[in-house]
């Protein structure tokens, strides 16, 4: 997957799960303030990403520091590249 495809899949997956307007989703979008997510949603956000990208991130320390959509993009892209490198 290209970085662009990863970003598109993240955005569409989260838009569907959290009923958010795809057109309003930018890297600067704040998960809590702008998207209105809370701690329960973050649990589900992890599941959505794990399912969409076939990755395991629940125990990752970095996931707790994510604040914006751009943080998620960077995190997942790095995770995917890491797993591709390991193959």
């Amino acid at each position: 997957m290209t970085d662009q495809e990863i970003v598109a899949l993240i955005n569409s997956s989260l838009a569907e799960e959290f009923e958010f307007d795809l057109a309003k989703m930018t890297p600067e979008t704040e998960l809590f303030e702008d998207m209105g997510l809370d701690s329960l949603d973050v649990v589900d956000l992890v599941i959505v990403l794990e399912t969409a990208f076939s990755i395991k991130i629940r125990e990752e320390e970095a996931i707790r520091k994510i604040r914006t959509l751009g943080d998620i993009h960077s995190f997942v892209i790095a995770k995917k590249r890491l797993s591709e490198g390991a193959k």
Binding site: F18, D38, L40, D41, V43, D44, I47, E50
Partner: protein, 410 residues
């Protein structure tokens, strides 16, 4: 006997005829059936019944995602009905949130559909990795009550009675007692249930589900009819807003009816089979609670689900308590059996019968079973003053309940 008078000032329903009291009453008065053929039931091995009464006219998207994420369809039904009841009663935000309003709403179980979805995933790989954070809120036994309270901002007490088909009668009865004792001034109360094959299957394996009318769904169920062959499961919600009379008068609310008596008893003779003597005891207890003589009751709204044994046992009890003069009917022919919602849905219809001075007959009762004779079956729409009504509900598990409604008089 209630220490304070308790009245109904709001009602909301979700039924096979859509959302709202007008839709419900229009259909009942027109003699319509909400029963449809459900093709998916044919895909289940061992399932012989193919019909159900499914709720219509509901848009879950009306409820914001933040609240909806913790709801299965039964909580959606309950929430929309509760909103309608609160609106009809004209409650303010301050009254909803002020701590003097509580919630008493039950269901047969937590969401069977969510449990199915979870165990299907869990059983596939013995893994919890795809378990959503809100799953528990769908399957906890007080899911409907809590979801209603969350959406409406209720800070008073929460009750979530569970007694299968008696659930919402219990919920209303306990709510009335809560107000009667002065613990709350308002209670949103009733029940909700969502259709799932497990419910139909439960009755099917006991040979108590209707199977002979799969190709003519509106012909079943047939309470008291000689050709009845069992229950048709349904879904929906009925929520009443109960209030102390003092509160209703104080704020100038329109009083729809008064709840003057409630009784429930246990029948240890059988966990499954209804018992005429126990049912009669329950109705007499309710009459005593209301300080009402049987001769003063204008109408009996029977539980009557169209099972062989249940209808006969209830008719025997009604004949024992009321003789053969008090008009009697069941609304299961129209609504199917909405399980935990049936009591409060039918109570709402009874309140409208009192207000409109009309009695609704049993749909699909063409030929009275001789074993269900001895009571005054209401045949055709009856127009007459209706001042006092007794509403019965009985549940698997040996749980009976009866509620007395009266036209409000100062």
């Amino acid at each position: 006997m209630l220490l304070r008078r308790v009245v109904v000032t709001g009602m909301g329903v979700v039924s096979p005829f859509g959302r709202g009291m007008e839709n419900l009453m229009d259909a009942l008065l027109a003699g319509k059936s909400g029963v449809v053929r459900v093709p998916a039931l044919a895909e289940i091995k061992g399932m012989r019944t193919r019909v159900a009464a499914l709720a219509t006219g509901v848009d879950p998207m009306e409820i914001p995602r933040k609240f909806r994420r913790s709801m299965s369809s039964m909580s959606v039904f309950a929430t929309l009905a509760a909103q309608d009841a609160a609106q009809m009663a004209g409650l303010s935000e301050a009254q909803l949130r002020g701590g003097r309003l509580g919630v008493s709403v039950g269901s047969t179980t937590g969401s069977p559909q969510t449990m199915q979805d979870f165990f299907r995933d869990f059983s596939a790989d013995n893994s919890l990795e795809k378990m959503k954070s809100t799953l528990f809120f769908h399957i906890m036994n007080h899911s409907c009550a809590s979801n209603v309270a969350q959406v409406l901002g209720v800070t008073g007490r929460i009750l979530a009675p569970a007694a299968a088909c008696s659930t919402s009668s219990h919920a209303v009865g306990y709510a009335a007692e809560t107000i009667g004792l002065g613990k709350q001034d308002f209670m949103l109360c009733g029940g909700a249930d969502e259709f799932h094959p497990l419910t139909s299957g439960t009755f099917d394996i006991m040979n108590a589900a209707s199977t002979a009318f799969n190709d003519s769904p509106t012909s079943t169920p047939r309470p008291f009819d000689r050709d009845r062959d069992g229950i048709v499961c349904g879904e929906g919600s009925g929520i009443l807003l109960l209030e102390s009379l003092e509160s209703a008068l104080g704020r100038g609310a329109s009083v729809l009816a008064e709840i003057t008596g409630f009784a429930t008893n246990s029948d240890p003779a059988s966990i499954a089979n209804p018992n005429s003597a126990s049912i009669a005891d329950c109705m007499r207890l309710a009459l005593a609670d209301a300080e009402l003589d049987a001769s003063q009751v204008d109408y009996v709204n029977a539980h009557a689900t169209a099972t062989q044994q249940g209808d006969i046992a209830e008719c025997g009890a009604i004949a024992d308590v009321f003789g053969s003069r008090t008009p009697t009917s069941s609304l299961k022919g129209h609504l199917g059996h909405a399980m935990a919602a049936s009591g409060s849905l039918e109570l709402a219809a009874c309140i409208e019968m009192i207000r409109r001075g009309v009695l609704i007959p049993t749909l699909n009762l063409d030929n009275i079973d001789p074993l269900c004779a001895g009571v005054a079956h209401q045949r055709g729409i009856g127009e007459r003053p209706v001042n006092a009504v007794i509403k019965n509900n009985f549940a698997l598990g040996g749980v009976n309940s009866s509620i007395i409604l009266r036209r409000y008089q100062q």
